[in-house]
Symmetry: C2
């Protein structure tokens, strides 16, 4: 109700003279969407309520769906900049988790607005599809960053894609549960918990440890021969598995 509407207020340097007409369109659109539904509201209804010409709507928003996500473009730009500003000193998985937290911050900045939008996107298939494409762009940004960091590693792009998907899924799991509870409670803590699960699973030190392995003498017992693998306890698990695959001669 009394929620203020986000326009483009990203962390960009210049406020850039935000046009009041854009905010008027968002406000009018949400009023009508909540009153009579998204599909029952035409663009003409919105521009009539906002008091602007129909053509102006499409000057500010490429499509009717865009007006529901007026702040994601800026948030995506922030995330891209955040990742681009990363250095080799940052642990990659932790870095993409931090990038995901930028999205949460945007939602948490305006709980009432976010909850309203969540209810809307849940019941309008068209909006859900649009949201998927937005989420997909976030995921691609994370994956591209990880691909760069994992370049050269075996299965680097696979690892990058899987971890990006896991981060997004964990983030959305916590975010949606927060939105479903009407935005009460600590969203940041919930997302931290969810992302910790992903970090716990995937975050491994980048430097390769001294790992020694070798098949010991085979002793054909009753069930086949035996493999003995010796490894440092603090070796990254995936390295151990890699060695295991080599030893076992399996893909």
């Amino acid at each position: 109700m009394g929620a203020t509407f986000p326009s483009m207020s990203s962390s960009s340097a210049v406020p850039a003279a935000k046009p009041p007409i854009r905010d008027a369109l968002v406000a009018a659109a949400f009023r009508l969407f909540l009153e009579r539904g998204f599909e029952q509201t035409t663009v003409d209804d919105i521009v009539a309520l906002a008091g602007v010409g129909r053509r102006s709507f499409f000057r500010y928003f490429p499509s009717k769906e865009d007006v529901v996500f007026p702040d994601h473009e800026g948030c995506l730009a922030d995330m891209t900049a955040f990742l681009a500003a990363s250095g080799p000193e940052h642990e990659p998985v932790r870095r993409v988790c931090d990038a995901a937290r930028l999205v949460l911050r945007m939602y948490a900045e305006n709980p009432a607005f976010s909850v309203q939008r969540y209810r809307l996107t849940r019941q309008v298939p068209g909006l859900r599809a649009y949201e998927l494409s937005v989420v997909w762009r976030y995921e691609r940004a994370l994956a591209e960053y990880l691909r760069g960091r994992f370049a050269g590693r075996p299965d680097g792009t696979l690892r990058a894609d899987v971890i990006a998907a896991a981060v997004v899924a964990a983030h959305n799991n916590a975010l949606r549960s927060w939105l479903r509870s009407d935005g009460v409670g600590d969203a940041g803590a919930a997302v931290d918990h969810a992302l910790a699960y992903v970090q716990m699973t995937y975050a491994r030190p980048a430097d390769a440890p001294a790992l020694w392995s070798g098949p010991a003498g085979a002793e054909p017992g009753p069930g086949g021969d035996v493999v003995v693998l010796v490894s440092r306890r603090d070796a990254p698990l995936w390295r151990v598995v890699q060695e295991l695959e080599t030893v076992l001669d399996r893909p």
Copy 2:
């Protein structure tokens, strides 16, 4: 070019008298899409070429985008049935990986068609958005199954969502790389490799295998203590990994 077009040929019991008009629409649509592009082709063009009435197009396909994915609805039904037919004896993560392989099988059944469609979806934003919503439904099916299997566990829904996303990402990573190489090579092997990575990460069986492992006497060398793992050579890799995780005392 000479590719046959899939209609709904899922593994349903009855062939169910597949309507030739549907196949005609798909064939006509793809001919025109490849000739002059998706957006440059109107529904009127398609129905004119197929020789049917315009209204019939929307009887078979809810939208113009649907005609590009004529077989996904059936595949999704197959996957849902596959998961519904699962029992407690199936390891959950392995089960969703097998479910994902159903999708790959659909793509691999018709490589030429799949490659054409991939090229189309890559360059048409509207189709990409539509594909995302299709993939999302697969992912939700996997996640719902896992949520059921993980019910009661701490963070069960989180684990379910993350693993479902990881499976889909791994599957798509391998699938897209196969499609990008024009459908040559063994798609099944590529997907198996990608899914093995996910299984390796997440699969945790309930029953203990015939696998013996144990940390040998620690010998604190210059880099930390050492783990010795002994395993049958024919033991499943993920089982070995599970034991490793236990030994290493990591999540």
